[in-house]
Symmetry: C3
Subunit: 187 residues, 3 copies
């Protein structure tokens, strides 16, 4: 068995190691999420004839575009603001559990690709608070990862990764995204 001084030295070494690891390196981080959420959101684009149902509108477009139809080719240059219902399943008519609010714009000339900046707003018995997102959405990929860049309320200071999947679309007017949110920083 170790003598007392040896035990003490070992323990002091271990303590210092632990403290140093904390202060000077934040690895290894756990890659297990501290919270996982799955939602769907539904975007109905204003096309000049559907104002009442529309949840989104083109507000910027390139020189060859307009505000009631996507630009050709590949929607390049169209900028859209939206206030979309969030549901727990893929049914547009399910009760909304929150709103997805923000913008997306198409930024590629030779393939469908977009960039998103938006928030999820919750004010229900389940959640009160917001999650903020930013990132690229290369639409031809089956899954696209964007960043959860912050949160408030129940999601205070959250960070993580959200995986987008196009769950359905109908022409240029309707699309539905599935969003798998994994938070890795929870306060």
């Amino acid at each position: 068995m170790a003598t007392k001084p040896q035990v003490a030295s070992l323990l002091v070494y271990l303590i210092i190691s632990a403290a140093t690891a904390t202060a000077y390196s934040r690895r290894p981080h756990p890659r297990r999420p501290c919270n996982e959420l799955v939602f769907f959101f539904h975007d109905i684009l204003f096309n000049g004839r559907n104002y009442n149902n529309a949840t989104a509108a083109i507000v910027g477009s390139p020189q060859w575009g307009n505000k009631t139809a996507m630009a050709t080719p590949f929607n390049f240059g169209d900028m859209v603001v939206f206030d979309d219902p969030i549901t727990l399943d893929n049914n547009l008519h399910s009760p909304a559990v929150g709103r997805a609010q923000g913008m997306y714009f198409y930024d590629q000339k030779s393939i469908y690709g977009a960039w998103l900046g938006f928030s999820f707003l919750f004010n229900s018995t389940e959640y009160v608070g917001t999650l903020n997102f930013a990132g690229a959405d290369p639409l031809m990929n089956k899954t696209r990862d964007i960043s959860v860049i912050g949160g408030t309320g129940d999601f205070f200071m959250a960070r993580g990764v959200a995986t987008l999947m196009t769950d359905a679309f109908e022409g240029d007017v309707y699309f539905r995204l599935r969003v798998d949110i994994k938070l890795y920083e929870c306060w």
Copy 2:
């Protein structure tokens, strides 16, 4: 009193617990801010006749909108870029301590709601650096929380929450926001 092996075991257990807690869970995080700041910023929207005073301009609008007046209803679809003075009190004519630069856009059809992406830029004796913000601004709420998503200079790597309050507004042309910034990550 504990025997030596018992003391050693207990201590090793405690050390491993501490180290594990560090590596595998970052809770509990302190919810005490590491920095608190309060500012006001002042937005004067270009309306076709006030170019010299204007600090903001509509650059995107929906099909039914234009660039010199907010769209009806609820400004939905209007996108604005701004370069607003930041002051320490609610007086537009107080010395500016920095600039708020970025954009907001109105994204709701049936109530006033916006989304913000912007930065605070400081270059004074007090602060040199930037804070970056993103989040939803449901304007009818008395207070709205957005995220501090990063910072540079004196605010290197900052994260936190900023609470917005509409301190005053005059029609569509002027509004003043009070921003209570609480940083929870300070480097």
Copy 3:
């Protein structure tokens, strides 16, 4: 030499200190980057005559602007979406190692200043993943710091600071930015 109870007390104290430091303060953070990357990206703005070469287009503009030329003065109010090649050196014709996709807009009336929200997308033997950026770009400064607000794939959960430098520009149509990325959070 310390008696057993003294050793035990000291060690318990040290353990508690270390654990407390971990839980209640995350300082001091290391300011040594955990990853450093340098890239160039190249922006060719659509001017009405260069569609095939253009990597960017004006999609929003102020009342006095248009979609094929920068607004006067100082491009104020012009909003641009882009999909720019990323290279390892300052040669536009070097092999692209990724794409810079997102938007910038000019938000100052009396000097050149912009705000950026964009992503770097990598899908090469070197890197697979994305980095997301946001921040102000006061163009007259030799260097400008923006935030790395998140990342995915090889850059999972990254945070840091990116320093922008204008490496070259040709009128309003071409500019090249050098970006020095320093990550301080790597998972």
